[in-house]
Amino acid sequence: MKSRVLVVLFSTLVLMSSLPLFAHHGTGISYDQDTHITVKGTVTEFAWKNPHSQLYLDYKDEKGEIVHYAVELNSPGVMTRQGWNRRIFKAGDEVVMDVHPSRVGAPVGECLNPCKVSINGKELK
């Protein structure tokens, strides 16, 4: 019973935290909005572009093969309001971020505000 309560509470929290994320450019349906996964990788490219900024990361999977992972970010306007700018990520940065994963298992995720991000061990506010 208690574990069921825990699951319900946790699910509610996750669902509520994901609600604002649908307010984007119609791509939300492509991602599992009920799930967060943590992606750790090295930045290869950061595109500060309207209306969808993009972050590209490389990491090694369990077989030691390099995965090229792409992250959909918010528009520069929204991120500017959050205090981000075009220099916030640079190639070579070690990034850890929580994303909503692609529903079809593609190496693509969505990180719209608010989402948890740390760069070189420092968490972004």
Binding site: V5, F10, L13, M16, H25, G26, G28, S30, A70, E72
Partner: protein, 271 residues
């Protein structure tokens, strides 16, 4: 131990709900400011959408067809055909964007009415012969002429239309014709025809809160005129996050790159 965890999580959820409600109120939900002096005929300022009015009454649909109203839309057969053909990535009929036909997917302009239901700020600027709306989303502007002119009888289509406005008491009444109907009325693909006429009724209920209702008259796609639920907008103070408009532009070359590298693979579509 478990009880403590349950209590902690419960507290966390309650705290989250409280914070979320405050955040939403700050971002646009109506809150009374009736005692603060204001000129009801001056709409100047930056405004942010706070959502629909939640109206609808007994006939309200459990699942609305449009973001504008919870009432069922009186679609004609032709209107229904177009509505069914419009494939959005949002709303009750959503499809993966790469398989849809949302005009925004190729970085086309959102158009006027869709802009008014989207949650980005706009600014009213008053002049002696027109009200100007600066619209952050897609970086557009719109003129509402108040110099007594009439809307054109046979308008050429414009993405942001031909608009004239006048005051009826404390309500700013805006008539618009000639909207390019390749745009949608909302994010969900609600259509309008080349014969559609629109009337916005803006009412500043107090200093900080603005209300809008929209009436759509479009006999080609709707068997009778229909009126939206009340939508609310909240004044954004200078220095607040949404208090100044920023540049949000849809650049086709950036959109194409985004579609190819992120949007399409995220939805399982290779093209």
């Amino acid at each position: 131990m478990r009880n403590r965890v349950v209590r902690s999580l419960t507290t966390l959820v309650i705290a989250f709900m409280a914070l979320a409600s405050v955040a939403f109120a700050q971002r646009g939900n109506a809150a009374p400011a009736a005692n603060v002096p204001h000129d009801p005929h001056d709409l100047t300022g930056v405004w942010l959408a706070g959502g629909g009015g939640g109206g609808g009454g007994a006939a309200a649909a459990a699942q609305p067809m449009t973001q504008w109203t919870r009432q069922p839309l009186p679609l004609t057969a032709e209107g229904k055909k177009v509505m069914d053909a419009n494939k959005s990535g949002k709303g009750p009929r959503a499809v993966v964007p790469a398989l849809g036909n949302d005009p925004l997917g190729d970085a086309n302009p959102p158009g006027l009415m869709r802009t008014l239901v989207y949650g980005r700020p706009f600014e009213f600027i008053h002049t002696n012969d027109k009200e100007v709306m600066l619209i952050e989303w897609a970086h557009f502007w719109r003129q509402i002429w108040t110099d007594g002119r009439k809307v054109p009888a046979d308008p050429d289509p414009l993405w942001y239309g031909h608009s004239v406005g006048k005051w009826e008491g404390d309500t700013f009444v805006v008539d618009t014709v000639g909207l390019d109907n390749r745009a949608w009325l909302d994010e969900w693909g609600t259509p309008f025809s080349d014969e559609a006429r629109f009337q916005e009724r803006w009412h500043r209920v107090n200093r900080d809160n603005l209300e809008l209702t929209l009436t759509v008259t479009d006999p080609k796609y709707y068997s009778k005129p229909w009126t939206s639920d009340k939508r609310t907008y909240r004044l954004q103070s200078k220095g607040s996050p949404d208090g100044e408009l920023l540049e949000v532009i849809f650049a086709p070359m950036d959109e194409q790159e985004f579609n190819q590298r992120i949007r399409n693979p995220a939805g399982g579509v290779k093209k």
